[in-house]
C-alpha cells in the first residue's frame, strides 16, 4: 500500500502503521500537506453533518418513529417539531439516511437480544403490543432444553454484571439519601419562600437540608425563585443543570431532554456532563439540552405555551390576548375597551387569582376594572 493509500485510510490503521505514517509525515512535506487537506475535508464533512443535525438523539427518535409504541408522547412532539429540519438534513446527506437504516438494524438487534435473553414468563401481556411486530415465529424459537442451556452463561454474566453494578446503585442510592420526592399537580413552597408549580405527572426532589437545590426528575414545572445572589438556586434534571439567581422560569424535562423558558430574571443552562457548555438566557428566551449535547442557542420563547398554570406570561403580548387567556383559565368573561386591546403588556397575570390579575392588567394599561354582567371589563 502506498503512503497516499495509507493517508486515505488513516483512521483505520493498526498501531504500527500509524507510527510509520507519523514518521513519514514528518519527513515528507508533500505528504503532510495532502494529509492536512484530506483531514480538512473530512472535518468539513463532519462539521456539515453537525450543522444540519445538531442533535444526534433526534436521529434515533426519527428511526424509531415507525413503531407506534417506541416513542413517548413527549418524544413524538419533540420529533414533530424537528421534522422539517430533519427531513432537510436527510435530503442533503445520504450518510444520515444510511445511519437511520443502521439504527433500525440496531433496534431489530435489540429486539432479538431481548427475545433471546428475557425468559418467556417475564414478557407479559401489557408488553405484547410493542413486541408483536418482530416476535419470531414459534417454530423459530429454540427448544426449551436448549434455551435453558444457553441461558446459563447469560445468567452467570448477569450475576457478574449485577455485582459490578451494585457499586453504581449504591452510589446513586447514597445520592438520593436526604432528598424528598414530591409528585405533580400541586404547588410547593420552599424554605426560602420560593415556589414551584408542578404540572400533572411531574416529579420533583427537594433537598432535606433546606439548601437551594432541587431535582426535576421529569415533567413540567414553573419555578418562582426568591432572589439570593449569595446562594444561587440549583436545579438539575436527568441531563441538564440550571443555575438561578432569582427569577421565574419554566422547565420541561424528560429522560433525554430539558427545555427551559425564562420569564424574568436570569438563568444559565448546561448539560450535566459538560457544565462548561452553559448558556445564559435573557427574559423571554428558551434553550434546550438534548441528551448530552450542548444547549441550543437561546431563542425567543413562546411563553403562551406555558398554558397549564393559572398564570398568563406576557412579554409584549397584546392586552386583548391576555384578557382572552384569563377568560379561558378562570372561565369568566374579561373584556377590554377597544383602545386598550392593542397595547402590548409585560408581566405575569393570574398566579394570585383573577382579581389580582385584573388589577395588574388595569394598572399596566392605566385603566379601571368594572363589573360587566357575569364578568369584568377594563375601561380607559
Amino acid at each position: 500500500m502506498s503512503d497516499f493509500d495509507t493517508l486515505a485510510l488513516y483512521d483505520a490503521l493498526p498501531a504500527e502503521e500509524r507510527d510509520a505514517l507519523a514518521a513519514a509525515l514528518k519527513e515528507q512535506p508533500a505528504l503532510a500537506a495532502a494529509f492536512s487537506r484530506w483531514r480538512s475535508l473530512r472535518a468539513g464533512v463532519r462539521a456539515g453533518l453537525a450543522r444540519d443535525l445538531p442533535d444526534r438523539a433526534l436521529l434515533v427518535l426519527y428511526a424509531l418513529a415507525d413503531d407506534a409504541d417506541a416513542l413517548s408522547d413527549d418524544e413524538r412532539r419533540q420529533l414533530d417539531a424537528a421534522r422539517p429540519a430533519l427531513d432537510a438534513a436527510l435530503d442533503k446527506h445520504p450518510g444520515l439516511v444510511a445511519a437511520v437504516r443502521r439504527i433500525r438494524d440496531d433496534r431489530d438487534a435489540f429486539e432479538a437480544a431481548w427475545s433471546e435473553t428475557v425468559p418467556e414468563t417475564t414478557r407479559r401481556t401489557p408488553l405484547r403490543r410493542a413486541e408483536t411486530r418482530r416476535q419470531p415465529a414459534a417454530e423459530d424459537r429454540p427448544a426449551l432444553r436448549d434455551t435453558r442451556l444457553l441461558r446459563w452463561p447469560a445468567r452467570i454474566a448477569a450475576v457478574v454484571a449485577v455485582v459490578a453494578f451494585a457499586g453504581v446503585l449504591t452510589m446513586l442510592a447514597l445520592r438520593d439519601a436526604g432528598w424528598e420526592t414530591v409528585a405533580g399537580g400541586q404547588t410547593v413552597t420552599l424554605a426560602d419562600g420560593s415556589t414551584v408549580d408542578l404540572a400533572d405527572g411531574a416529579r420533583l426532589q427537594l433537598s432535606d437540608d433546606e439548601t437551594r437545590q432541587a431535582r426535576l426528575l421529569g415533567g413540567e414545572a414553573l419555578f418562582r425563585i426568591v432572589h439570593d445572589e449569595a446562594h444561587p438556586f440549583e436545579l438539575t434534571t436527568p441531563n441538564a443543570e440550571v443555575t438561578v439567581l432569582g427569577t421565574t422560569f419554566s422547565v420541561q424535562a424528560t429522560d433525554v431532554q430539558t427545555e427551559v423558558m425564562l420569564i424574568q430574571g436570569a438563568v444559565s443552562l448546561a448539560p450535566r456532563a459538560t457544565p462548561e457548555k452553559a448558556v445564559r438566557l435573557a427574559p423571554g428566551q428558551t434553550s434546550t439540552v438534548l441528551a448530552l449535547d450542548a444547549p441550543t442557542a437561546p431563542a425567543p420563547a413562546n411563553l403562551a405555551a406555558i398554558d397549564w398554570t393559572d398564570a398568563v406570561f406576557a412579554r409584549g403580548m397584546l392586552a386583548a390576548e391576555v384578557a382572552r387567556q384569563l377568560s379561558a383559565r378562570f372561565e369568566t368573561p374579561v373584556a377590554l375597551d377597544a383602545a386598550l386591546g392593542a397595547e402590548p403588556v409585560v408581566g405575569e397575570f393570574g398566579a394570585d387569582g383573577l382579581d389580582d390579575a385584573l388589577a395588574k392588567l388595569a394598572l399596566a394599561l392605566g385603566g379601571t376594572v368594572e363589573a360587566d354582567g357575569p364578568g369584568f371589563r377594563i375601561t380607559e
Binding site: F4, D5, A8, L9, D11, A12, L13, L25, A34, S36, R37, W38, R39, S40, L41, R42, A43, G44, V45, L49, R56, V60, L64, D69, A70, S72, G95, V97, A99, D106, R107, A109, F110, A112, A113, W114, E116, V118, T121, T122, R124, L127, E131, R155, A157, A158, A161, V162, F165, V168, L169, L172, G218, G219, P238, T254, D255, V256, A291, L292
Partner: protein
C-alpha cells in the same frame, strides 16, 4: 422478576428491591445487544453500565410503565450513538475524529481553498455515504454491514474518493497560489 407494569411501577414508587430486580433483569438483554453490535469489545461493560444508569435515572420519568422495553431500548440506542461519537474507547484514538492528530496541524488551520460542497459533488452518492457514515463515527466494518457490502469494498471507495479529491484539492491550491501571486504583483 417480571417486566409487567406493576413491577415497573413498584420500582418507580421507590421499592428498592423492585428497582434492583428490574435493573438486574435488563442487564442481560443489554449485554447481548451491545455484544451483537460491537462484538466482545472491552467497551461492552461500559456501555451496559451507562445504559443501566440511563434506565435508573430516567425510570421516574417513564410515564407508561408498559413501555419499559422501548424505554430500555432507547437507553441502549442513545448509548450506542455516544459510543460511535467517540466518547468511549481508545479505539482508533490516535486519529479519533474529534481529536487533533498528533504531528499534524489542526484541520481548521488548513483552508480547503475550494468549495467543500463542490468537491463532494464530484463523488458518487455511494462514496459520499461512506464518508459521512465514517464521520458519524461508524467503523468501516459496520459501514460495510449497513451498505450490504464488504469492508474491503468500502475502503476501496474511500481510497478512490481520496484520489479524486486529492487531485481537485491540489489543482485548487495551485490556482489559489497563482491568484495570490497575480494579486500581489
Amino acid at each position: 422478576m417480571t417486566f409487567d407494569p406493576d413491577a415497573v411501577e413498584r420500582a418507580q414508587a421507590g421499592d428498592a428491591a423492585a428497582r434492583d430486580a428490574l435493573l438486574s433483569a435488563v442487564t442481560t438483554p443489554l449485554r447481548a445487544f451491545f455484544r451483537s453490535r460491537i462484538g466482545a469489545a472491552p467497551e461492552v461493560d461500559d456501555l451496559v453500565q451507562n445504559a443501566l444508569v440511563r434506565v435508573y435515572r430516567g425510570l421516574d420519568a417513564l410515564q407508561n410503565p408498559a413501555r419499559f422495553k422501548a424505554f430500555a431500548m432507547k437507553a441502549a440506542l442513545f448509548e450506542l450513538q455516544d459510543f460511535y461519537r467517540g466518547r468511549y474507547s481508545s479505539r482508533e484514538a490516535l486519529f479519533d475524529p474529534d481529536l487533533p492528530t498528533p504531528g499534524s496541524v489542526d484541520p481548521e488551520d488548513v483552508p480547503l481553498a475550494m468549495d467543500l460542497e463542490a468537491a463532494l459533488a464530484t463523488l458518487t452518492e455511494h462514496a459520499r455515504t461512506i464518508l459521512e457514515l465514517r464521520e458519524l463515527g461508524y467503523p468501516y466494518v459496520e459501514i460495510a454491514e449497513t451498505l450490504d457490502t464488504t469492508e474491503a469494498a468500502v475502503k476501496m471507495q474511500v481510497k478512490r474518493a481520496f484520489e479524486k479529491l486529492r487531485g481537485l484539492l491540489a489543482a485548487a491550491l495551485v490556482a489559489f497560489a497563482a491568484l495570490g501571486a497575480a494579486l500581489g504583483s
